[in-house]
């Protein structure tokens, strides 16, 4: 059982910044995210896009913002459960919570902060009639363990970075790699496209374009994919078919936690502390809604800050505290590190 003070669901910018604000109050945080890396949408969808409305940053790449946030929270030693989706919320008699992931990892905390953005990212599935019949029998949407593909014949479809990057990677693992895309052009980074071209030239990747997989064949497990290229339809033997058509956010299991939901978002009390209808459970960032809500990273930072003050009072109802500026109090990490403004040197006149 993982124990922490504030359990944060969602490791996007708002969730990450919560660690900092909580850390100033000496509260420890642990984050759960369905994606295998922190950063949320900033890392998954648009890491190379510049953001222009982060106060104090005239321009910052989304990926760099995540890197900076990770650096900023480092002294507060957050824990991470990545690649797992928060599935179940239980409230114990003492008012604390247990959150269990889809893989069974349990987390215990007095405070839960849902910073889940638009929800957890789920793979987008192509419209192939018998696709579901072969899920985990040769069809996978996310590559979790590359060793699964060792010495196997793998067919990947998709035209973005993940299709390209995994095709490149699996050439070193799989027996054969076939990449199928509806266009001759790919949407991925130029160097990935060039690398695939290079691997194609030396016969390491078979590229079938413009084409798509329209059917699957097999008994207990996948044996062949049916490929359509123009008017031509043909089968290709394979052990695995990996459609990589990106991820779409879904509110998912959160919607069964007894939270008040409005417009695909969690209703919170914005006049106070962004608490939900379940005391001790907060929702911050893009996942919450209240009159006048704006889904902006900078608003998420503000919400996280207020939420942490409220969480502190909830955990320590008898303690008095006033917010301290970092220019005054500095940053004292849980790792023993200390950052503070240099003391002015006073020298008296002779």
């Amino acid at each position: 059982m993982i124990k922490t003070d504030i359990l944060i669901i969602g490791a996007g910018p708002t969730g990450l910044f919560t660690v900092f604000e909580a850390g100033l109050l000496k509260l420890k945080c642990h984050l759960i995210d369905a994606l295998p890396q922190p950063g949320g949408q900033c890392a998954e969808i648009y890491p190379k896009k510049p953001i222009y409305d982060i106060p104090g940053f005239p321009e910052v790449l989304a990926g760099d913002l995540v890197d900076n946030l990770m650096k900023q929270i480092e002294p507060f030693q957050p824990g991470f459960t990545l690649g797992e989706r928060a599935d179940k919320l239980e409230k114990l008699d003492d008012g604390t919570f247990i959150v269990t992931t889809n893989k069974g990892t349990k987390h215990h905390a007095p405070i839960v902060a849902i910073a889940g953005g638009l929800g957890s990212f789920e793979p987008r599935k192509p419209a192939i009639s018998n696709l579901a019949d072969f899920e985990d029998k040769g069809v996978e949407y996310i590559i979790r363990n590359p060793e699964l593909y060792r010495d196997k014949n793998v067919v990947i479809s998709g035209g973005g970075d993940s299709a390209l990057d995994w095709s490149i990677f699996l050439t070193n693992v799989a027996k054969s790699v076939t990449l199928i895309h509806r266009r001759n052009e790919f949407r991925g980074a130029l160097d990935s496209v060039e690398k695939v071209q290079e691997l194609k030239n030396i016969g390491k990747i078979e590229l079938i374009t413009p084409a798509e997989v329209v059917g699957l064949v097999g008994n207990d497990k996948l044996e062949e994919v049916v490929i359509k290229r123009g008017d031509e339809v043909f089968n290709r033997e394979c052990d695995h078919f990996i459609p990589l058509f990106g991820l779409a956010p879904k509110l998912g299991p959160l919607s069964d936690w007894g939270l008040e939901i409005e417009k695909n978002a969690i209703k919170v009390d914005n006049s106070l502390d962004y608490q939900t209808n379940i005391p001790g459970v907060y929702a911050i960032g893009d996942i919450n809604t209240y009159p006048g809500k704006l889904k902006l990273i900078l608003c998420g930072f503000h919400e996280a800050t207020l939420m942490c003050q409220s969480a502190y009072q909830r955990i320590f109802p008898d303690k008095r505290y006033v917010m301290k500026y970092t220019t005054v109090g500095g940053v004292q990490g849980f790792d023993g590190s200390k950052k503070e403004a240099p003391k002015a040197v006073i020298k008296a006149f002779d």
């Binding site: 419209a127 895309h181 509806r182 779409a248 417009k263 978002a265």
Partner: protein, 109 residues
């Protein structure tokens, strides 16, 4: 600068005629959201960067639209339910020439 009329058929098949301003640099996806014609979280997921295809729509009128960018074209190449008249709503910016534009929202994926 005047408002224009756009006819939008939502995912349930209901048609709405709405006013869209031409002076706010708005796109069709944002017009749909401003009138709440699709549930939040199901359209404009990437915010309008042509990176998710959640705002895919079918253009039903014969208005001359801005040419498709490389990004939009390749995003549609990965999207589902794509037809010859598919466009990403976030890439169609409202201007006076688009008065009377008719679109249908593509199904949610």
């Amino acid at each position: 600068m005047k408002d224009i009329k756009i006819k939008i058929t939502d995912r349930e098949g209901t048609t709405h005629v709405v006013d869209a301003p031409t002076d706010m640099n708005m796109n069709v996806m944002e017009v749909v959201r401003s009138y709440e014609l699709a549930p939040e979280g199901t359209i404009g997921v990437c915010g309008g960067m042509a990176m998710c295809a959640s705002c895919q729509c079918y253009v039903m009128s014969d208005h001359e639209l801005p040419e498709m960018s490389y990004d939009e074209d390749l995003m549609l190449a990965e999207a589902f339910n794509v037809k010859d008249n598919s466009r990403l709503g976030c890439q169609i910016f409202i201007n006076e020439e688009l008065d009377g534009l008719e679109i249908e929202l593509a199904p949610e994926v």
